[in-house]
Structures are given as structure tokens and as C-alpha cells.
Symmetry: C3
Subunit: 433 residues, 3 copies
């Protein structure tokens, strides 16, 4: 972890993050159902949220909202009647969205429904079957390998019914209708980095943003079921977003011990990208930038050709680049609440850049303003004289031509835009912009 | 030699190339005359060709078609009456386009007409005097150095007469009037890499293209005398080319053992360049790219300011970068018919990219299409599951906005465009584009 | 020092530079006053100059021309009545623009007005107080540290009065109204690199330019007080410059032993930048390029947002990168008149590129011109045959499409534009452009 001195302080601390994590952890979430609803209600205690329910069968672009899924019980008993695998022990044991079943069958037939990871014999994999009716169990490979021949009893007490798909939304109005989006997904059962880290970061970031007294932008936070939730959101707001969404970020896998990863929007040089990379690069935060790619999450929907919105993604170690991904090994030990807090600081820093960023116009324009008569030219014999800051002020005035935004001006000098916050304030007070 | 698995198979094999090479090798070609005509007729056995004859004295832009040159005999006899140098032994012995002469003269006077390469004493140089009447002999430097004083007899039985300049042309129509050009030159006498390799590659490539059942583009292959032939062609077709030529390539020096060299068109980023470099770079073929430069061949005419056509050049070792260039050492041993075949494969691969390349439009556009219901989303538990290919499909759909061509889409993912051939087919069949 | 063979010869030699340096050195210059006037008159002996006088109190954009300052005497006497520090010994001893004072005061009170550099105990610093009335002395730190307690007598006999600010201007008309500017500043007292080097380079460069028989561009040389002088100049000519200034250079710190430094204009790719960098890079002169930055000189005014003129800066070691900067150690020993002469050669070379640079149009355009019939195609058997130069000619004709200037054409071939001077002449004589 490397903290940039430029990053803002926060209201939230690691202990508060951990406390909420512990409440959300055991719940069995999916892309629909009561586990999802309960999770949204717990999150909404931090910052009030509007709940949406989209009826099963609703058409959203090329997709249809699936039936609602709920689960009560799921287990396998061995030939000796003992429990082999029980949903109550770990909610990854059942393939998410499994159809109900109650049957007795020999090991050979059962095996087609058992999933494990031979290379990680202690880990339970996470599998789903949202759009194809099926059933199955996931278990540790060493358990699977030791199963004796014989007849097994399987029981999955789930329900697939006409119901609805839930998602949560926080909208924090600003001076402008133009808005900034943070999108995260809440459909994953008990896994920590992917994906309790995103919802935790987003909900506390929302509280930080709500505390900013005068916002320029409006901010929208959405807590969605992955893919189908983002598609439903775009079905409702896509046209609005095309006009008003100025920058957006998908928050995912952001609590592990790796450095920040910034994945570009499909445009590659959108405001979302420029603000994030100015902070990460010029703020000298350890990070890496990666191009847009379809191996990802809901940025695939936001950046689809019909929308092509300025939405990137903020992560630490990307999905599929950590072995624990989509297994029971992605647990509380795998993440760090200090890292998660730092992710929130990075997001808040990006928002501060977005708030600051304008194409200001130097009102003098013809030659330099005489700073001395405005008290802005420090004496070089003053022991507190800061030539660096004087140059930054002159640099800002030299480039503030009404067509060049603060991010560009800062980049030209290898500065972080946040280093111009006081300068913009001084210039505004002196009537220079 | 490194064969990319992406490159297409061919009808032609090295033995067939060698057989035609052996027939063309002994003929004394020039920029006009019967040797040129005979060569074109032999080439046309592989793929029918339209023959053009441009009368001597025709004005073509700033140039004039020269008199037609033919040669029967040329030799020098020494003071002892023995043959010193005989055209029948090697047709490089006479300076190409030499005027006729029959004279006796002392060694000192003869020497002004004798050319050799002191640094390559065993090689006969290749020299021409197309646009300035003159005569001369080329010989091995060790022969030249050993000539005794005395009177020599020289005889050059050539004829320069009002006749015509020949060139051959193959036109293979496609669905579009837009066309692809391959241009090579057939004016060099007995040299192998420069230049029997180009005509051999072009004629067999023409046969491969003729075998493609449904061509989008029309294809034109021209077999020209260098410079004056290209100028005459442009005089006839320059206006048509400005509208319809989408990509063109000069084929030259493409049979030696070096890697492929791609020389850019003057524009530097034309479709010709983009298609060739996508194949070479992303197909991971050993190659190097060089910028447009005037030290070259007929791309100088195609890229002249008034035309500036999208014409690059495909070579192996460029002219003047191999010592054997323009000498008798550029012989059959210097080239490899396997390499020559591989050059044809590269050219055919480029054509396949050009055929495939379009700016397709994803018909769903708003969010991702649901691939599952179209049978395009493989199950991740399927042992044949290929995540790479799934991502390539999603990548294609994400970028297929109607303004981005397949080459751009492939480049963005570091892919060769040929890897999208099946994807484009699948998407078309599924009604997605 | 590395002399490019491409650089032009000069009229001036190092001895002449040194002679003028010696006359200018002792004069106490400031941004106004008689020292400045005297310096301008000495400079004008080399090349006649128009003198401007701007009355004190004149408004120039956001600034006001200050009162005129003149100095007769300034000293400190110690408790023993002996001279501690005397303006007559070194004119840096008094803070430039000090108000008059005559007083007796104890060391403790005096110290607030004494300035030295602890890290350079033998050097007298250079300080100014143009826009804030104050007084002070600058002295060697080892002298300052050895001052005994007691009462000191200080006397500064200066005058701040309504007068005028002077600057000098040389205008050399060319065929076009479009012009090239060289700007340097003459307000610094006895320091060599910063800043007698700039005025010396500029005045002798003016004489060189005046000697060019047929100039395309008009040339303007200005010898200004820094900042306020440039602002006054822009107040007079800014609107004219926006239309007619095609390239400009601030000359400063150009006599030390470092390599040439080229600082870009704010635009970064203006004609000024392109001409200078083509010479430095392709002419293979040791140099470095640095981006525009506000830590600098009058380019800050020329490049301010309202003007954004194509003005860069030519230096050797930049201000603040040599320890001697703004101290008495920046003396005659610190500079080299050979280096200063070389700087003038570089400037003249840049002017030659600007004079040569046009977007010529090849009048043949369609295919290559036949050079042979124009006597421009050398015979390859000629022992003086220069293939490099033939290719350069063909390259020029290939790119001369009426939209590409000589600098671009030269850059494309890694050539210095000066290598095209003869080619442009040949082509013009042959009617090819």
C-alpha cells in the first residue's frame, strides 16, 4: 500500500468496513431473490437507497429478466446416510440457480453434477446456471475424490418463480444534471474480493460524496445483479446517460492486497480515464493501467456500441488474475480492510478531480497578470517562498485559455490535478478566472 | 522461414515454381523486345493474360516509350582471335540496350566500354543504357584484369527500331469495381531474386485468387517493364485507380532466404499498409517494416504526388541490401522455392484480410446480445470451452459499431484479422451483423 | 562544442564578440535608466537600432511602466569608517531598484537589508526590487559573516522619477510582411551568460541577417527590459504579431560551455519549433529539447493565452541549472566566445531553414519527371555519382505535393532541411517546381 499525500481523508475506517462485511458475508446472494434483497437493505443502512424491482419476464433489450430464484436447503447424503455436502455449511456448495431436485442416484450418475477444482483440492468452486435450467453441487476436490461407490441422496429445495429482480440506487443531486456513476454488483454469494469489496467501497463512497457540501456533479451509485442488472439499468436510463453521464466506474475486486488497476473505458481517453489516470500517474500511486477488454464486468454493457459511455473500472487485482477468484478461498483472509479503505480514498480523489476540472479562462490573457498587485507574487526573500507553487500558478494562467481543462494543464507539467485546487480558488478570488 | 498457422494453404508447390523458373531463366529480357514478349507468354500459361503493346514514341506523362530493342549476338574476341566474352554464355555480358557495333580497337579504347566489379571478381554486373545510346560489355573483374594488350574485335548485333513496349495484365473481376493491384516487373534478364521472383510469385498468386469462388474485390496483376511500364499503366488507368484502387503491392526480391520486408506506401497508413502489417505483426511472422523511400521500384510511380495511391511493396531482402543484387551471383542458388512459396502465402493471407475487412455493425448494439439463446455462448463446463475465442467474439461485438473495421478491431486485441473470419461468419448467420 | 558542417559561416568572430562584451560589461543596467540607454547605444554601433522610450506610468495590459531608476553611488561603511561594500567595486552590491537612503544603524538592523549566499561564500548575489519600494545590499557571505557589531553607515544615492523605459528594435524588411522575431533582454547588470550573451548574439545575428541579399521574411530584433519590456512590445505589436509572426526565439544564457537547449513554444509544434529541431536533431548537433514551462523569460508573455505566438527559446545551459546564475560568478570566465559564436551560427542556420521552407509543388506530379532529359539524372558509372543526393532529389519530388513543407520532407528522410537548399534551386531552375 502506498498512500499519496494528495488523497483525501475519509469518514469511514477499516473497522466499520469489517463490521458491515461480517453482516453481509453469510447471505446467499444471486441475481434475484431474497438474499439479494436482504443485502441491499443492509447496505442501505449506511446511505439510503431506492429499491427497484423488475418483474420476471420483462424484456430489456436483447434479454429477459429471469424467474426469481430462492433457496432453502440443499445437500447430498452418502451411501451411509451421512452428509457429504451441505448448503448450510457454505452457500457455494450449490450451483447458483439450481432447479429443485430430490432423488437417489448412484455415484456414477451423480458425478455429472459435481464440480471441483483438482488443482485447488481444498477450495469449493463458484458456479452458476442462470439462463439454462440445471442443478449441481460444488465441493472440495479431495472430498469428491474420496466419495465411495454407492447410492446417494440429493436434495435441492429451491424455487424458480415469476417474481422480480432487485437492484438498489442512490442518487445524490449536484448543481448540474450531468452525472458521475459508480456501478457495482451484489449478486455473488459468500466471496470477499469478488464481490463484497465493490459494494462495500461503493456504499461508503456514497456516504463520503453525500457529505460534500456543494457538488457540481450529480452522483449515482448502483448496486446491481451483474449483466442483467446493468442491462435493466441501461434500459431505464441509457438515453439519459448518453446525454448526461460524464464519467463512470465499475467497482470490483478492490479489497485485495494488490495495487490499484485501472481499466480504460472503450473510448480509451474519456474523462473517466483522464481523471483516474491523472490521479494514479501524477499522484504517484502504485498502479497499472490496462486497456478496455471484454473479459470483465458491467463495463461491457456500458461500453456496448449503442452506448459507448465513458465508463472504466477500478480494481486491485483483476478477476481471473488471482487463483482464489470464484472459489471459497476468496474469503475474509484474502482481503484487507486497509486496502479497501484506500480504494475508497482513490475513488474520492478521482471525484475531487472531476469536481475541480473545468476549462477555465484567464481573464487577463494578454501577457501575464501582474500577480504582485494582487498579493499573489511571493517575495523570493521570504523563507516560506515556494518557487514550485509559484510556477504552478503561472503555468495554470499560461494554459487557462478556456479550451484546456485542469487535467490537461496538470498533465503538461506532470502534476496531479489536485495540486491545482488552491490555485483555482486563489485565481477565482482574485478575479483572474 | 517461419510459417504462421494462420496462413492459407496453396495450390502451387515449390517444384512447380522451379519448373517455370527454369524456363524463364535463360531468356534475355529488357524493357522492350522479343525476350520480354516470350516471357509474358510463358507466364500466361499459368493464368491467362491480356497483352498490351505501346508503340515506340508514345508520350506517357513526362516520358516517351523508347525504341524497341532486340539482340541476336554480342561478343569480344581477343588479339589471338579467341572469345573473351560472349552474350550466348550469359546475357548479362552485354550492357542492356546497347547500340549495335562492329569494330576493332585497342584494349585502351575498349576499356571505357568494359564494366566489372573489383570487389566481386567472379561476378558479372548488370548494367543498362535505356535512355542514352551507348554500348558496352560487362565481365568478371578477374577476366578483365587479365586481358593482354592488343587489338580486340567487338561485335554487338542489336537493333533499335520503332516497335512497341509490351506488358501483361490479368484482371479478375469481383463483386465490387474497387480493386486490389499486384505489380511486378519482367524486364530483367537472367537474374533470380531481382527479378524472376516477383513475376513468379505474381502469376501463381493470380491463379490462387482466380480460384476464390466469391471475391469482394476485383484483382489486377500487371507484369511490366520497370518505370516506363508503370508510367504507361498509370497513363491508361491512373484516373480509374484514384477512385477504385483500395490497396496495391509491388512484388520484388521475394525469393531469397531473408525474412519478409514490408515497405509502406507513401501515405504510411493506407489500407495496403494496415492489412499487410496486421498479418505480419499480429500473425507473428518474422518480418520488418520500412518506411516509404524513393530507393525502390514502381511504388515511386504509384505514390507520385499526383496519384499517391495506397501501394506498398512486399519483399524479402530489399534491393541493394544483398551483395548479389544486379550481378550474375543473383542466380538460382541464391533463392529458395520454399521461400518463394511462403511469399505467395503471405500475399494470399493479405488478400484474405482485405476480403474480410469491413466496418460491420452489431445489430443489437444496446448492451451485449444474449449469446446463449443463439447457441453462441459455450458452457464453461464443456471440455472444449475456449475462453479466448469467446472473448474474441465479445470483443468483435463490442467494437462493431459500423465505423471500425476488422483490422482495427483485431489490432486493438493484438489479434490477426484472420482470427475473426469464423466469428464474422457466425455473427452473420446469427443475424448479429 | 560540435560544429555541424551544415551550419553557415559568419562575418563575426570571437574576438569581435569579446571586444563588445568588454565595453558592455561594467555598465549598471536595469529595466529603466541611463545604463540601459547607454548599453543600447553601444549595441546599435553594430547594427542600427530604433530606440523606444515608454513614459513611466503608461498602462500596458495588466501592468504599468515603473518609475525610471538611476543610481550614482551606494556603499556601507563599518563601525571603523572603512568601506564594507561599494557599488563602484561591483554593481551587483546594491539591490537593483533600491530606493535612496542615508542612515546610520546597528548591525542587527542592517542585517535585514543584507543578502548573501551561504553556500557560495565568495559570490555576490543579484537581487532586484522593481515593483516594491525597498533597499538592500548584496555581498559575499564570508564578508557578511565577518562583520563586527557596531554602528554602520549606509548610503544609496538613487533616484526613482517619472521618466521612461527604453528598448531597442531592429527591423529588417523582407519580401513578405510575415516576420521572424529574435527577442533578448538587456536589463541585467554585470553578468555574462545571463545576460550579456543574449544581446551579443542578437546584435551580431542581426548584422548577419542584414547581409542576406534577398530575404523572404522580415526580421525583427528586440532588446528589452525583461517582462515589462516584452509586455510593452506586445502592447504595441501584439495584433500585428498574431497575423504576421511566423516564428520567434528568445535568446538567453547562450554563451556558456553547455550544449544548445531548445525550449519549445507553448504550442509545441509551431514553425519555430519545427525549424529549430530539424536543424538540431537532423543536423546532429548536441542539444536537448525541453517543453514549454513558465520558469523562463519573455516567452511567458509571447505565449500567454491571448497571444499564444510561435515563440520558443534558444539557450545553452538554462537559467537556474547553473550555480553561477544570478551571481557575480556568472562572469567573463564562465562564458566562451567560441560558444557564443556557435550559438549565432545555429540561429543563422535556423533562419536559413525558415527562408528555404515552403510547400513546393512538383509540376510534373503524375509519375516521376524524367530527370535524364533535364540533365538531373547522374550516370551511375560517373565516379562522382552520389546516390544519396539522387535519392534526396527523388524524395523531394515524391513528397512535393504542395501541402508538405521542406522541413516535413526532410524529417521524413531524417535529413536536415539545409540539405535540400541546392535541390530546391535545381528543381526551380529546371521548372520542376
Amino acid at each position: 500500500m502506498n498512500e499519496s499525500k494528495l488523497l483525501p481523508g475519509l469518514l469511514v475506517n477499516p473497522a466499520e468496513l469489517e463490521k458491515l462485511f461480517d453482516r453481509l458475508w453469510p447471505i446467499c446472494r444471486s441475481i434475484t431473490g431474497d438474499g439479494l434483497r436482504e443485502s441491499l437493505h443492509i447496505l442501505s443502512e449506511v446511505q439510503p437507497m431506492r429499491m427497484h424491482e423488475i418483474p420476471s419476464g420483462s424484456r430489456v433489450f436483447d434479454w429477459e429478466v429471469p424467474k426469481e430464484w430462492n433457496i432453502r436447503e440443499a445437500w447430498i447424503k452418502g451411501p451411509d446416510g451421512k452428509m457429504v455436502c451441505d448448503f448450510r455449511e457454505n452457500n457455494l456448495h450449490v450451483v447458483n440457480y439450481s432447479s429443485p431436485i430430490k432423488a437417489r442416484l448412484p455415484l456414477s450418475a451423480l458425478k455429472a453434477h459435481l464440480h471441483s477444482i483438482p488443482s485447488m483440492p481444498e477450495a469449493i468452486p463458484y458456479l452458476t446456471t442462470y439462463y439454462k435450467e440445471n442443478w449441481g453441487f460444488c465441493l472440495r476436490d479431495n472430498v469428491k475424490q474420496s466419495l465411495p461407490e454407492g447410492e446417494y441422496e440429493v436434495f435441492i429445495d429451491t424455487e424458480l418463480k415469476a417474481g422480480s429482480m432487485s437492484y438498489g440506487e442512490i442518487f445524490l443531486p449536484g448543481r448540474l444534471q450531468d452525472e458521475i456513476l459508480f456501478s457495482t454488483y451484489v449478486c455473488h454469494p459468500s466471496m470477499a474480493n469478488n464481490e463484497l469489496s465493490g459494494p462495500l467501497a461503493a456504499i461508503f463512497l456514497a456516504r463520503e460524496i453525500a457529505a460534500i457540501p456543494e457538488r457540481k456533479y450529480s452522483y449515482r451509485f448502483v448496486f446491481l445483479p451483474e449483466t442483467i442488472g446493468a442491462i435493466a439499468l441501461l434500459h431505464r436510463l441509457g438515453t439519459h446517460f448518453k446525454e448526461h453521464l460524464k464519467a463512470g466506474y465499475v467497482l470490483t475486486c478492490c479489497g485485495d492486497r494488490g495495487d490499484i488497476t485501472y481499466k480504460h473505458s472503450k473510448r480509451g481517453d474519456s474523462l473517466a480515464d483522464r481523471a483516474a489516470l491523472n490521479l494514479l500517474e501524477k499522484g504517484q500511486l502504485a498502479h497499472r493501467g490496462i486497456p478496455f477488454a471484454v473479459g470483465g464486468s458491467d463495463e461491457r454493457q456500458y461500453c456496448s456500441p449503442g452506448f459507448n459511455l465513458p465508463v472504466g473500472s477500478i480494481m486491485r487485482t483483476p478477476y481471473q488474475q488471482f487463483a482464489e477468484y470464484h472459489t471459497s478461498a476468496d474469503n475474509k483472509d484474502f482481503i484487507s480492510f486497509d486496502q479497501l479503505q484506500e480504494t475508497i480514498r482513490v475513488c474520492l480523489g478521482i471525484c475531487q478531480i472531476l469536481e475541480l476540472n473545468e476549462s477555465y479562462q484567464n481573464s487577463v490573457a494578454f501577457c501575464e497578470p501582474q500577480l504582485g498587485k494582487r498579493g499573489l507574487y511571493p517575495s523570493s526573500v521570504d523563507p516560506k517562498f515556494d518557487r514550485e507553487n509559484l510556477h504552478r500558478l503561472l503555468h495554470f494562467l499560461a494554459f487557462a485559455d478556456g479550451n484546456t481543462d485542469v487535467i490537461s494543464i496538470a498533465n503538461h507539467r506532470n502534476d496531479c490535478a489536485l495540486q491545482y485546487a488552491d490555485i483555482v480558488k486563489q485565481c477565482r478570488e482574485a478575479g483572474l478566472i
